[in-house]
Point group: C2
Chain length 344, copies 2
DNA sequence: TTCAACCACGCAATCGTTTGCGTACCCAGA
DNA sequence: TCTGGGTACGCAAACGATTGCGTGGTTGAA
């Protein structure tokens, strides 16, 4: 490996000077600098991040710890986070939490021993008790991503859920539905909990009563059977809100198994739009989460916190966009009072 | 930060002894070891990967450089790679190549300066000339992932394409189609090139002639319009093979725009199955790439190469599985002489 | 001629580990 | 009393950068 010493010898200067030239950290005579740069070029010197880190303390790398599910949104998030980090000269270390506190803790420890400058974390349901305290104690700059547990005293960025779900429900109510179901993730996940709250709120605004029978808060793999159970009810739902991507897939599978035509026999609106939403028949009405913006914001907040660890923690909620298609039973009119986006 | 020195002082031994105790690298008297471990416990000492790397040379981290596209397969790949690496005690550093040689080079340089022990790379079309030589010269242990350019002298893992595509085409031929089109990525990408080759081979086996008009090798974003152009031909195709995920989406969009019923008006088979393949109407017949297995194999090969840099390079091709549904025009019979997997 | 101010650069300590050599001690056998 | 072989541990030199403190040389004003 080519080191600063090699470059220095080739250029006929000291290591100190090489360092100052490549880092522009103090003035160096033009001619000397040129010799050094030429030596750098000809040796292919790249610098050693390890050695640098040892003395400076920072690593210019940040850890991203989240459950690597099949959620198609994740790719967009990763891309945005990587791009924003890259622009700031940092690199991304990835760790799968499996959404379980034990793996999550292990992932965080691994990142810490790698001396990452900060951590982006999508906390599991158990995190507020089991892993966040450790993070706080260790003083690791952290931003929570996508899920927003309460009272953590930590920076957070995620989607706005309550209002968005409420709007979705209200829309179904305005279309005349009286039995509106909700299929979503387990209550421990803040996102699911908030959407359940928004659902209730939306029912209220549509002058409908909340019925616990119509709510299925289930793990991702159970959503299809949960939906089938809802359909078996004495008073089955005529419309359903899918709280996330697995719920959407589950509802669609259940409808297909029961031979129900979505949009006609069963109105459907979903959180988290997918890129195949317009390929289905009928195309799915859904809220598109601003994942890329969430990722970028999270990175910016993390960098700010690294720069100023004392700043008061902030929580940012980014509103989704409604993509109005036909699965809700409409045939493509915009929803009144809504910021809508039409398909091309 | 708590260092070995702190632990050593607390335990009343030298730094050397602490190191040997925590690494079990030479025998230490039972009583001393216990004192040291107690000190480790009470200080919460974790060790500093940075300092260790500086002296040992290794970082126990590997770089994954690939284009972070929206391809849903990527998540499964990431998950598999991360899991396999984790099991081996390594961590994953992610870098987006944007599928362009310049960004790719930058990504590789960044990984190298981070002293990764090895690199997993999905090479861009320009890579064999522009980035692989640098990798070879630097002696970075490398495994190529997903795309398999020829004569690189580098370990490679990817899907089997020629035979798989040929089978797909032959199936369409057996259903009576005479005008079978191919929509796939640009020829520079080895995967697309191999699939184009398999397509030609399949035509031959179905006793059909190859017609350049029926082949669209286009960038991902152009697949829909390319498909429409094919449909405008004097003798438009009655069946189409989608070479990858963007091509599939493009073909579906084009068909929808033209009001063509897939499976009836236009037979469709695709490479790269998607988890919503069974939700469409009709469900999509596709080959499911063994992405997870590809990821795991790549990691294993990389670790082997790190252990033995002199070993002769290997190329591994993993065959996909056929998921036979209805978009090809069949109504669910297995294809003769094929290893098929039925949907639940 | 002297001296201050400034410019251009180098010395050597430092970061937290690992590890090749030693050294001090103990005990058994001659 | 030596000596030889263990056992239990410590010293100090790396690893490759960054950076506070100097030092030698030139210049211009007094």
């Amino acid at each position: 490996m080519v080191t600063m010493r090699d470059v220095a010898e080739l250029a006929g200067v000291s290591i100190t000077t090489v360092s100052h030239v490549v880092n522009k950290t103090r003035p160096v005579a033009q001619s000397t600098a040129e010799r050094v740069l030429a030596a750098v070029e000809s040796t292919g010197y790249t610098g050693d991040a390890i050695a640098r880190s040892l003395v400076t303390g920072g690593t210019r790398s940040i850890g991203l710890a989240l459950p690597l599910t099949g959620d198609p949104q994740l790719m967009a998030l990763l891309r945005a986070v990587d791009a924003e980090l890259n622009a700031a000269g940092h690199t991304l270390i990835l760790a799968d939490t499996h959404d379980q506190p034990e793996t999550e803790t292990a992932a965080i420890r691994s990142l810490r021993s790698r001396r990452v400058d900060g951590v982006l974390l999508t906390p599991s349901p158990g995190a507020p008790e089991l892993v966040l305290p450790e993070l706080r104690r260790a003083g690791v700059p952290t931003v929570l991503l996508g899920r927003l547990p309460e009272n953590t005293g930590i920076d957070q960025v995620g989607p706005e859920n309550v209002q968005a779900t409420s709007d979705l429900v209200r829309h179904l109510g305005e279309l005349g539905h009286r039995r509106i179901a909700l299929v979503t993730g387990p209550d421990g996940v803040s996102t699911a909990a908030e959407r359940a709250l928004g659902y209730r709120l939306g029912l209220g605004r549509a002058k409908l009563v909340w019925d616990s029978e119509l709510v299925a808060s289930v793990p991702t793999e159970d959503s299809a059977s949960a939906m089938e159970r809802l359909l078996d009810l004495p008073g089955p739902p005529t419309a359903v809100v899918a709280g996330d991507h697995p719920a959407l897939v589950g509802v669609l599978r259940a409808a297909r198994r029961r031979g129900l035509r979505v949009g006609t026999d069963l109105a459907l609106v979903a959180h988290e739009d997918v890129d195949w939403g317009d390929l289905l028949d009928p195309p799915i009405t859904a809220t598109a989460q601003p994942v890329a913006e969430i990722g970028r914001t999270a990175v910016r907040m993390l960098l700010e916190r690294i720069a100023d660890p004392e700043r008061a923690p902030r929580t940012v909620r980014l509103p989704p966009t409604l993509v109005h298609r036909q699965s809700c039973g409409c045939s493509h009119q915009p929803i009144p009072d809504q910021h809508t986006r039409q398909e091309p």
